[in-house]
């Protein structure tokens, strides 16, 4: 792919302005879904077209971009998006280190390393409407959001408890933003939900196929939906990472052979790698 003839960060200026205006309104009304004119991107829907358009509208040549897919920097989706921006945004640096990044585009994880002010999280969102599975009519969900009428979701959680004895989908567990809007946190594990609460970083969400974007400003209240007598409990596999020994991170289960052998490793490859380096340095010292 040659990048000659393409604008900085691929999108034309008119599209960027349209997305930028939508982003500012999204920040002003935290958790509210703003429609935008999603463009055809050089990759299919479901591969992060929404996140890419948001990143392309925000990114500049002074930024440092990190892209993760399920916590990993080295999976196909992450590598191809990082390479895409390195090609179409001259000057932009890319990194795998969370601490170095100014923009982190993510599919389905929030890094383990705490975020800081000055960082922007960009989430790839497949389904921005948290009520979609309960009420598929857009016109109706818009009205429910306008009235802050989220009884449907409370009933769904109640039914979860009645059937399974506990609240909490393992991922995409709905949150209330600023006490006003019900929001889909994108399919991050519920383990990551508490990291959104009062995060110092700005969080932007883009859904390309559904043509919606939304935002959570820094230091904004993000509460996972639950009941007083059935509080939200983030889910985590019990075990520790086979590579770095971490017992406080989100783990992926790996099958190692065809005889039932398996082990757990950190889903955040950068965090795990840094811990291993540190441990190696301590051993050498």
């Amino acid at each position: 792919m040659t990048t000659e003839g393409y604008n900085f960060a691929y999108l034309d200026e008119g599209t960027k302005r349209m997305i930028r205006r939508a982003l500012l309104k999204a920040v002003a009304v935290p958790g509210h879904q703003v429609p935008f004119g999603s463009r055809e991107m050089p990759l299919p829907y479901g591969w992060g077209t929404g996140g890419i358009q948001v990143t392309a509208s925000v990114v500049g040549p002074d930024d440092v971009l990190k892209v993760i897919d399920q916590g990993a920097d080295d999976t196909t989706n992450a590598v191809s998006i990082r390479r895409f921006f390195a090609r179409v945004a001259p000057g932009l640096r890319t990194t795998e280190r969370t601490a170095e990044a100014t923009i982190i585009q993510t599919r389905h994880r929030i890094p383990e390393t705490p975020l800081r002010e000055g960082q922007v999280m960009v989430y790839q969102v497949p389904q921005p409407e948290p009520l979609f599975k309960l009420e598929p009519r857009r016109a109706e969900t818009k009205r429910l959001h306008a009235l802050a009428d989220y009884g449907l979701m409370q009933v769904k959680l109640y039914e979860d408890i009645a059937r399974h004895g506990r609240v909490g989908s393992s991922y995409d567990h709905p949150v209330m933003v600023g006490g006003r809007y019900l929001m889909a946190p994108s399919p991050i594990p519920s383990f990551d939900n508490p990291k959104m609460h009062l995060s110092p970083a700005l969080q932007l969400f883009g859904a390309g196929r559904e043509r919606r974007l939304y935002a959570v400003p820094p230091y904004t209240e993000v509460r996972s939906l639950d009941f007083d007598d059935h509080p939200f409990v983030p889910l985590r596999a019990s075990g520790s990472c086979a590579l770095c020994g971490a017992d406080h991170t989100y783990l992926d289960e790996m099958v190692t052979d065809d005889r039932g052998g398996r082990l757990f490793v950190c889903s955040d490859t950068d965090y795990c790698g840094e811990r291993q380096e540190q441990q190696a340095a301590e051993r050498a010292a």
Partner: protein, 191 residues
């Protein structure tokens, strides 16, 4: 066309850096941001107001502007936006003189609050850390902001604006090449 002043030196990267400053201002209300790559628009338009305009308005956004014929010609040439005669019809409202009442601008609807107007207001001075006490999304505990040159009764209007949430106007304050933003979710108390 003889006296037409230039817009952004680099339309792509200057617009990007100006937008980032506005985004930062909107997500951390009360923090004053500098726009280092702002253009020099015709008076009475200031550098920051000019940069915000060129970064955000285009043929899709009706603009109301009270800054006189030179400014209208400048923004029309560089941004190509339709100019509307009444502030109540505009998506972006730029005021260098007396600000219109917030309630007279587009408020959006409960279902589509993003349809509200953005008011870009040139003020006499912005000072961080003193004056108003700001709380709300984007602020860890409290930010201080002193603004000189706002119309009398602005705080009462702001309170009414907040009461309409999620409807309501968002404000970008400009002073020279610096800006601060007041998103509608912001609560302001007199310091």
């Amino acid at each position: 066309m003889s006296g037409l002043l230039p817009g952004f030196a680099d339309p792509v990267l200057d617009a990007q850096s100006s937008f980032r400053a506005v985004l930062e201002a909107m997500s951390r209300p009360g923090r004053v941001q500098r726009l280092p790559r702002a253009p020099s628009p015709p008076a009475p338009l200031g550098a920051a107001a000019g940069a915000v305009l060129l970064a955000l308005v285009d043929s899709a956004t009706p603009l109301f502007i009270d800054a006189g014929a030179d400014a209208v010609e400048w923004v029309r040439f560089h941004a190509g936006c339709p100019i509307v005669p009444g502030a109540g019809e505009a998506e972006f409202v730029l005021c260098t003189g007396t600000a219109p009442r917030l309630a007279s601008l587009r408020q959006g609807t409960d279902e589509e609050p993003q349809g509200s107007a953005t008011l870009i207001l040139q003020v006499d001075a912005l000072e961080e850390g003193t004056g108003w006490r700001l709380t709300g999304p984007g602020i860890e505990r409290e930010h201080g902001l002193r603004v000189r040159g706002l119309p009398e009764g602005f705080l009462a209007e702001w309170k009414a604006n907040g009461a309409r949430f999620p409807r309501g106007v968002d404000v970008i304050l400009c002073d020279g090449d610096r800006i601060a933003a007041l998103p509608r979710s912001l609560r302001i108390e007199e310091g």
